[in-house]
């Protein structure tokens, strides 16, 4: 039997329509036959999320972002998820992945398993979001300039101390009080800055750790490099801290009358100790001063690709 042309065309059109419909659903990560539910969320910063990005729960692709719109408070994101995926109340949404290698995705962190289920069309609140590399890039210059200021102050204090100590003709009493003042100043600065530097550094380490788990291969190598630099920086700052503490202790001892001026002048060991401390500090300072931006530059490496 000859198939009429009308039937052939009809079949072709229906087939094309079906292929188009299923094909677009397939590439949008939507279930091919079951339906999808749409949910909404809002971010302060969408971090480059666009329609078509993957929606993932526990690292499993379950749907796709269908729309990202600018709203006054940030960005409103609509996303669709296969109807057989249960999103419980208390779930949060966050932007995951790395936008600069454009594998950004929408992560859903599920709420407690026994919580009631979200209805389709519900609003899923956004989790507090962290843009890992953006954070590092933003903070790095800040950390360095703080470290820089700190080191400059320290250096100034030490320079004064050194000059005074090594000049036997100067008024020793005056010298000592001046050293004490400098050491006090140094101590205050250190106390103040110490906490924040340590906090920032641990922050950076955490972030670097996060990057490591996210990216692989070559990215990991670079991150390793960043890590090494960060560790070195931390060591330097730590040894700076110990050294200045030692100096401070020494000066405190002098001050509290445990030693006399004569002892300071005659006793070699004390003088040597003080001198060594100062030299050590100086070396660290020189290391920093030589190229204070090297740390930043290493950090920047991460950003460029």
């Amino acid at each position: 039997m000859k198939i009429p042309n009308e039937v052939k065309i009809g079949i072709a059109v229906v087939l094309a329509g079906t292929v188009f419909y299923l094909g677009t659903r397939y590439f949008r990560d939507l279930p091919i036959l079951s339906r999808a539910h749409t949910y909404y969320t809002e971010f302060v910063n969408a971090n480059g999320l666009v329609a078509g990005n993957v929606v993932s729960i526990n690292g499993v692709n379950v749907g796709s972002v269908s729309d990202v719109q600018l709203v006054r408070a940030g960005a409103r994101v609509a996303f669709s998820v296969s109807e057989d995926v249960v999103i419980t109340q208390g779930s949060t949404a966050k932007v995951g992945g790395l936008s600069f290698i454009s594998s950004i995705q929408l992560d859903i962190v599920l709420g407690p398993a026994d919580a009631p289920q979200h209805a389709p069309g519900d609003f899923i609140p956004a989790a507090e979001q962290v843009d890992f590399l953006g954070e590092i890039a933003e903070r790095a210059p800040d950390i360095l300039s703080r470290a820089d200021t700190l080191l400059k102050n320290t250096r100034q204090a030490l320079n004064t101390a050194e000059t005074l100590v090594s000049d036997p003709t100067s008024d020793l009493l005056q010298t000592m009080s001046s050293v004490k003042a400098s050491a006090d100043a140094l101590h205050t600065i250190l106390l103040a800055e110490q906490r924040s530097i340590v906090a920032v550094l641990s922050d950076i380490q955490a972030l670097a750790g996060a990057i490591m788990t996210l990216a692989q291969d070559s990215l990991a190598v670079t991150v390793d490099g960043v890590n090494v630099i960060l560790e070195r920086m931390e060591q330097n700052l730590a040894s700076l801290e110990t050294t200045t503490t030692a100096l401070s202790d020494l000066l405190t001892k002098i001050n509290s009358g445990q030693g006399t001026l004569g002892r300071l002048v005659t006793e070699d060991s004390l003088y040597t100790e003080l001198h060594q401390t100062v030299s050590a500090l100086r070396r660290i300072l020189e290391d920093f001063e030589e190229d204070p931006r090297q740390y930043l530059r290493h950090l920047k490496l991460v950003e460029i690709f």
Binding site: I9, G23, F27, G52, N53, V54, N61, S64, S218, F305
Partner: protein, 253 residues
């Protein structure tokens, strides 16, 4: 001097005559009876009979794009799934529609121009008119309508077979696993892409058939004129596909 003026005026003359022809075609849209049967025949000729050649071209476009993308992305930093992310949108947004358009400029455009051109020089079009039939409605409307309706079908076929070709090439050359290819395509899937391709298919279908109908319908000068119209139909269809491709990209993207 007169020749120069004539050459300057010619494009406007052609555009005007083309527009009038389209207006006349639109005017006879209501008269379904005279073109319905013809339209079915044209849909088979323009659409269904073109599927094999379109499939062949799409399969190779997909395969070549895959292999070349893999070749150009030699870097340990770039994961192989990017190949899928590049190839699938290239196919759906550009290649499937444009390659189909080019092939059909030759296959369909030349055929339409030759058919109508021959009908013109052998007075068959005059014969239709003399009978009291609207020759534009009878000859042009079914062809253009068939083009507009069947091109999207061919586009979908080209996409499907193009992606299949890419996957086959990926599998045979081993540049990327099928899973990674699809993962990349899905991660970077743009919702608008296939619709953009579909819009292109509509526009190209209209351009190829209407330009070829115009060339054929206004053929002058015997067998030689038919030859001239045929060539011009194929060339002009290709040129206007490129122009429209660019214009659509600017307007819609």
């Amino acid at each position: 001097m007169n020749g120069v003026v004539l050459n300057l005026v010619r494009p406007f003359f052609s555009l005007g005559r083309f527009s009038l022809l389209l207006a006349k075609a639109c005017g006879s849209l209501g008269d379904i009876g005279i073109y319905r049967k013809n339209m079915v025949v044209q849909m088979v000729r323009i659409g269904l009979e073109s599927i094999p050649i379109v499939a062949l071209a799409a399969a190779f476009s997909g395969a070549v794009t895959t292999v070349q993308t893999a070749y150009q992305l030699v870097s340990p930093i770039i994961p192989p799934k990017v190949i899928g992310a590049v190839v699938v949108p290239s196919l759906t947004m550009e290649l499937a529609a444009v390659v189909t358009g080019f092939i059909l400029s030759g296959r369909v455009g030349a055929r339409i121009a030759a058919e109508l051109g021959t009908m013109r020089v052998t007075e068959q079009i005059d014969a239709l008119e003399a009978m009291g039939l609207n020759s534009v409605g009878y000859l042009i409307v079914p062809r253009v309508a068939a083009g507009i309706l069947m091109f999207p079908v061919l586009y979908v076929a080209a996409c499907l077979i193009g992606v299949a070709g890419s996957l086959l090439a990926a599998m045979l050359t081993g540049v990327v696993s099928i899973g990674e290819f699809i993962l990349g395509a899905r991660e970077h899937y743009d919702n608008f892409g296939p619709y953009f391709g579909l819009i292109k298919a509509f526009v190209f279908g209209f351009l190829i058939t209407s330009i070829s109908c115009y060339m054929g319908y206004y053929t002058e000068g015997g067998a030689e004129g038919v030859g001239r119209s045929t060539t011009r139909a194929a060339v002009m269809s290709c040129v206007f596909i490129l122009v429209a491709d660019f214009a659509l990209a600017i307007v819609l993207l």
